[in-house]
């Protein structure tokens, strides 16, 4: 199995796809089928960006759907300065943050009892993706270190966690992440490296680095 590339070496370039621009023009003219093609091309990136923010696949699905519908309604506002994907991801991230801050979600978390893992640590819904992503069979096969890392990643401060997850998904460049989070590229890189540093400290504190 080929080793996965380090996150620092991920340099997905943002090139404007001329096909996307043509599809956008047709969608702006009312061609819903053309917008459907754009949905198909970007649904994975949009869904994962939403998942990184809200931590739940069901909520990420709702957010992705809302983001696409909003993008269609605001297509006339797309000037083409950035790529359609970047523009779409900005809308997605905004929807995801609104969802994360929504009172309804906060009340649901109050009603739903906090779960605890084997170590007795409480985890928030973000940790659902940490624990529930792979199947049980895969979970057995993954290393003990990665299994222990997931709750630690979910427990990072939101700003660090968002940057780490978006960069680690492999779907976004640092520039795209900066535009989504509305921060400079340098801040994105700092947050990613700071997230790693905090994780290493936590791992050392728990003795996970002695493996």
């Amino acid at each position: 199995m080929l080793p996965l590339p380090s996150i620092d070496r991920v340099t997905a370039t943002e090139t404007a796809n001329p096909d996307d621009l043509e599809l956008v023009r047709r969608a702006q003219a009312g061609d819903v089928a053309a917008f459907g093609v754009l949905v198909e091309r970007n649904r994975r990136a949009v869904f994962r960006a939403a998942l990184a923010a809200v931590g739940s696949a069901a909520e990420a699905d709702d957010v992705a759907q809302e983001a696409f519908v909003t993008a269609f309604q605001k297509l006339d506002g797309f000037r083409g300065e950035a790529s359609f994907k970047t523009w779409l991801l900005s809308i997605t991230w905004r929807k995801a943050i609104d969802r994360r801050k929504s009172v309804t979600r906060w009340m649901q978390r109050l009603v739903r009892p906090m779960h605890s893992n084997e170590g007795g640590e409480e985890w928030d819904p973000m940790e659902q993706i940490a624990a529930g992503g792979p199947s049980q069979e895969d979970d057995v096969m993954t290393s003990d270190l990665q299994r222990r890392l997931r709750p630690l990643i979910a427990g990072l401060p939101r700003k660090l966690r968002d940057a780490l997850l978006l960069a680690g998904s492999g779907d976004h460049s640092y520039q795209e992440i900066g535009q989504m989070l509305k921060i400079p590229v340098g801040t994105v890189k700092w947050r990613v490296s700071e997230a790693r540093r905090v994780l290493k400290l936590k791992m050392a504190a728990k003795g996970y680095t002695d493996v």
Partner: protein
Amino acid sequence: MSDDRIDAAIDRAVREMLDVEPPADLRARVIARIDAPRAFIVRWKLLIPVAAAAILIVAVALARRAEAPVALHVIATDQILPSPQAGAQNVAAAPAPPRSVPARSTVVATVAAALGPETSAPAIEPLKTIAPIEVAPIAPRSIAPDPIGVRPLDPITEIQIAPLNPPDRRD
């Protein structure tokens, strides 16, 4: 453990946390939601003239109902008010009254309602007997003022003044 191994472990953990495929029907649901509001807007545009017509019909019906006349029964007033001759005997001694009670003719008028056979105008009870009001005539009074008498002044006594002595000359 080396930092490279930890970094690699972090990278792998992050990828696996987000390694969730979106639902396959996401595109179909998005398209359905995009089409649904547009259909709603089209239906809404058709409903506007229908609603306007309904409001117009209701307004016309209400206006026609308001214009329908109501039945009136006016009872003869001879039987209520006395005739001028009978009323004059009751007036106090005075010159002819400045005005007399006008004669009232019998007036009976009935206006049928035009609301239809099912509806009938409500009956109006006759008014109670009203006693005439007797007013004494007003006699004008003269308003000539009383004469104003001015008493003549008393004569003034003449004042007698002695002549002055010429001054002594100095030679």
